[in-house]
Amino acid sequence: MATLAGPSRLIGAPIKRREDPRLIQGLSHYVDDLKLVNTLHCAFLRSDYAHAEIENIDTEAAKRLSGVVTVITGEDIREKVSSVPCAAEIEGLKIPNHPALAVGRVRFVGEPVAAVVATDPYIARDALDLIEIEYRELPVVVDMDKAIEPDSPVIFEEFGDNIAFTMPLDAGDVDKAFAEADHVISHRLVNQRLIPIAMEPRGVLAEYLRGEGTLTVWSSTQIPHHLKTFLSLLVDFPEHRIRVIAPEVGGAFGSKLNVYAEEAVVAYLAIQLGKPVKWIEKRGENFTSTIHGRDQINYVEIAVNNDGTITGLRAKLLANMGAYYQLLTPIIPVLTYLMIPGAYKIPNIKLELIGVLTNKMATDAYRGAGRPEATYIIERMVDLAAQKLGMDPKDIRFKNFPQPDEFPFEIPTGIIYDSGNYQETFNKALGIINYDDLRDQQSARRKRGKYVGIGICTYAEISGFGPSIGVAGGGWESSTVRIERTGKVTVLTGVSPHGQGQETSFAQIMADELGVDIDDIAVIHGDTGRQPQGIGTFGSRATPVGGTAMLIAGRQVKDKMAKLTAHLLEANPDDLVFENGKIFVQGSPAQAVEFATVAAAAHNAVNLPPDIEPGLEATHFFEPEKFTNPFGAHIAIVEVDPDTGEIDIQRYVAVDDIGHIINPLLVTGQVHGGIAQGLGQALYEGAVYDENGQLLTGSLMDYAVPKATQVPSVENDYTVTPSPANPMGVKGVGETGTIASTACIVNAVVDALSPLGVKDIEMPLTPNRVWQVIEDAKKGVSE
């Protein structure tokens, strides 16, 4: 296992997590586990219609129900709660007003229309059934191809059409590349809509203390600091009197990288009613009204020469926004656009990205956010090219990789890949799976009538978000490191982990840096009252950006401590070693001073050198100069049952390069989870709306989150190409698995069926769909 170079004790070690004892004993506190005295309970009534005028809302019967405190509608709060925010800035972007509760018109199934507050959640639920709403149905827009036609019904009349924005790119000489290419391969690829399904649904608890004039909001969020700012704007409450706490958060995958209507309404109600108000999302609401992911249709062409060199790429990308924007909705497909050449040198690229409004829930960041789509596009196209050329999919990849000495490597979309050695990683994966023999085994098994496929995905991604110019709302991160009087170390970080384990990995980094026991370090996060500034956890940024902010803050404190120690020991600060809770002059461990003694001295402040202030605390804001670019190679072997279309994944090898590894246990956990989600997209998951905008997969009975029996065991390995983007050389690992696995699995299944002439199958590859493709192929039905 790779580790940071140098004498370190904990970085690189598979330390078990410090957050686990509370979690495995049921002692942690998610929002719904927090109980405040006199809490009122909120429930939302949501639209059953995808597009309709609200003709009348009658809340009288609900208000009369014993235990109901209030019922509010969009009309009641239209002047009091402002538009649900979107932070995206794109030239020409049409931004609709997004009321927290619908006013006049509903535009997707699940849009909140009214809110009930009652003394008990059971009563709040009962009251919903007593609200009568009259709707007048309007034509529904669900299909992106139709939505951009001039005769389509329009969702926002003020816009004139359903096109949210268009974004062109023309790099190199694409027309020439296509004119001169030996082959042009065209394909329509669909990246279906997914539903994130964090196991903990969303939840909000808000408390307004009239005397103190403070508003405290506990929310299951990835971005407590952003939420604080936006809440102040949403409910017109001074930001410096708001405290947002993300307590234990039960997974998010991007779905809680947002500011939601319910957060605003609950905060508003708590202020109005003067009592704590709690709302806990039901799973059904989570399906309709928490953001969805993916949902792109891509018309792609690549130009390729006989030797496998890809010379050009042309694509029209249709990205489904949904009816309104959430925080980053329009930005997500921009990442697809930026990352479209994947791990390959493609000099000529022409793109048109079109954001499309439809009567569906908003899409937004779902694990990978725009990048699995890009990987899917390029990895499918590369395989189609190999198929067309009769080339081994391995060879076409090597043919088009940049060479290791070409890094930093700029791709035509303007992204500069930080570091890489794609050949090494791919070779390692090929070696583990024994690729050379594999193709022979495949032919032998094919002769026995088996449909065996080998799927490859070699990806490069954009991670470690990121330079502020590339991240709406800022891409920096902030951390404060404080050494308490007793020598205990408090790390405050602006990232907001919700399963990733930074209470452990950050403590590893800091323990090595300060030479103290890991148990003497507490990593505190998710509370704007404790950590004054921060951005949050998303985009595989916590370690490369947040970890770096912490490391630098820690070094600043350490420098100060060294100065003080040097003063106490009458030594040169540069000669000091921090180790095992002691500080000593290099080579003289016997004359060590206790770390805690120096900490006390800093706080007692009676013997400080003249240029040193009391206390030991430093805050650092780290602004990354560039993104990081993890990469890797995933290879899967599948067998397809031709009679039923069932898919058996027989091996799955993942070799990832995420730069230096802080904690291999946690890293592998991230890769496993990512692969399960990417594989979920490939095989099982898909949000289905009917032509009337009704969500047909509105529960776990119909939307398949992979179960233990439905995912394979993964063989993991790594290569280490340090990132130059940060001092630790880390790249980030949160999304690699998701980015790689979808294309890997689909490539494998298509490869398995290639003897039948199959070139593509639309995801998810359900047994029914695979069987149908086989049947059609057997009958010679062309695509």
Partner: protein, 154 residues
């Protein structure tokens, strides 16, 4: 959801036409129909109490008949809403005399289901729709077997 089907009724088209279009007969045949009140030309306010698997809903809505071509074809349009969701759609009925005193009725239509029912009832909806139509034609056949005569001629 598409609705397609073919049913045979043991009566001549003239009678079957009556069974399929006369509100009193319709009320007898539509499963769970608790009332059909005329609100204009071939339009009725309906109360339907239908459900399967304990998932019952009382739907109030409108039933209309359009494009009537007596003894040959018409379109039945329904819309209804209940606490658990709403339905709307249409079905074109085409009648054809198969043999003496036997009429084939062809169905071709579309049913939209919305609300909670659509979101969580996917496993049930299609089957339930088929079952409801099946019950409807069982009712029609029962009328035919009982020899119920066109009400106009009473």
């Amino acid at each position: 959801m598409k609705i397609k089907g073919e049913y045979t009724v043991s009566a001549a088209p003239a009678r079957v036409w009556e069974y399929l279009t006369h509100p009193e007969y319709l009320q007898q045949c539509i499963p769970g129909c608790e009332g059909l009140k005329s609100i204009g030309d071939d339009a009725y306010e309906a109360v339907l109490n239908v459900g399967v698997a304990g998932i019952k809903g009382v739907y109030t809505g409108i039933v209309k008949m359009e494009n009537k071509q007596p003894l040959l074809a018409y379109r039945l349009v329904v819309e209804g809403a209940s606490k658990i969701g709403f339905i709307n759609g249409f079905c074109d009925f085409t009648l054809k005399e198969n043999e003496q005193n036997q009429t084939g009725v062809k169905l071709d239509g579309k049913l939209n289901v919305g609300g909670k029912l659509a979101r969580v009832g996917q496993r049930i909806i299609t089957g339930a729709a088929k079952m409801t139509i099946g019950k409807f034609f069982k009712g029609v056949e029962k009328l035919a077997k009982s020899g119920a005569i066109p009400l106009e001629s009473i």
